[in-house]
Amino acid sequence: MVASQDALLAQMRRGTLQYCVLSLLADEERYGFDLVRGLAETDGMVTSEGTIYPLLSRLRRDGLVESTWQESPAGPPRRYYRLTDTGRAALEGFRLEWRRFRDAVDHFVERTET
């Protein structure tokens, strides 16, 4: 793989990561650790767990997610994240565009393989 390709893939991951976070929160609220493990355990998504926290901070600042403290069954309280209405709208918008984009790229890229 050439270097510019690495950079491109890194950019694509960076750009889409926030929508993966929003998707994870679409159905249920989650606490930070659970959210981060969920992302990090999917191969190829992030290189390290710690780099997800700055993104969470950004999403909160942009009003796409909000966090609340909740008691945990054991140990100290946990910071739970959930989608705001703005976050939900952003996710829906991205889903539509992503499907179009993915199908368009597949149309060209996958054709040669079959």
Binding site: Y31, S48, G50, R58
Partner: protein, 200 residues
């Protein structure tokens, strides 16, 4: 065992905190808090707590430098008072020449007030070399004038003859080091500063 684990984690969080120098205090605290909450959760999740397990846990979190770099990019952090940072660097280097002693002290104060650099970088900036370029210039002038002085006394041989070739080379290379060191330090601090600045 637990004390080794605590120390590893403590070191990690301290490094993270240092790397986040230049961030607004609230953002910095928020990130460090969340990462330490993450560590606490991950630690509680471990089957058996040993040094290797803790190291793996921290490896998965990633290098504090990478986390800080990511945070700078995501949050568009630009250190406050960055204009003053430039003044600090200039005063550290040549402040003592423009305004003897006081100029350099102004540089030191601005350096330590700034949130751009880490404590270690600030120490380097202060100690290499105290006075900046004013120190080698001052030493150079004193040496020259003392030589002049002794020749006024009609004893130039004492001055020149008292210094062997080896000693001269030593003095000259010492002077070169004294001249170059503050320049290198300033370049280093300027580079660290530009690394800390990423526009949104």
């Amino acid at each position: 065992m637990s004390s080794t684990a605590d120390k590893l984690i403590d070191d990690y969080l301290k490094r993270l905190n240092r790397e986040l120098a230049g961030f607004p205090r609230a953002r910095r605290r928020e990130l460090v808090d969340e990462i330490s909450e993450h560590i606490a959760e991950a630690r509680a999740d471990l089957e058996s707590e040993n040094e290797a397990a803790i190291r793996t846990l921290l490896d998965r979190l990633g290098d504090p430098e990478d986390i800080a770099a990511e945070a700078r990019e995501r949050l568009g952090i630009r250190p406050k008072g960055s204009g003053w940072d430039v003044v600090a660097l200039i005063m550290l280097l040549v402040g003592g020449v423009i305004l003897p002693v006081i100029g350099w002290i102004i540089g030191v104060v601005l350096l330590w007030v700034s949130e751009t650099w880490t404590t270690r970088e600030k120490l380097v900036g202060t100690l290499v070399v105290p006075g900046g370029l004013a120190l080698p210039i001052f030493i150079g002038l004193t040496a020259t004038s003392s030589e002049l002085c002794s020749s006024y006394n009609g004893q130039p041989e004492v001055c020149e003859g008292g210094r062997s070739l080896a000693a001269s080379i030593l003095v000259i290379s010492g002077m070169i080091v004294l001249f170059l060191a503050p320049i290198v330090t300033t370049a280093f601090l300027a580079r660290r500063r530009s690394r800390a600045i990423v526009l949104a």
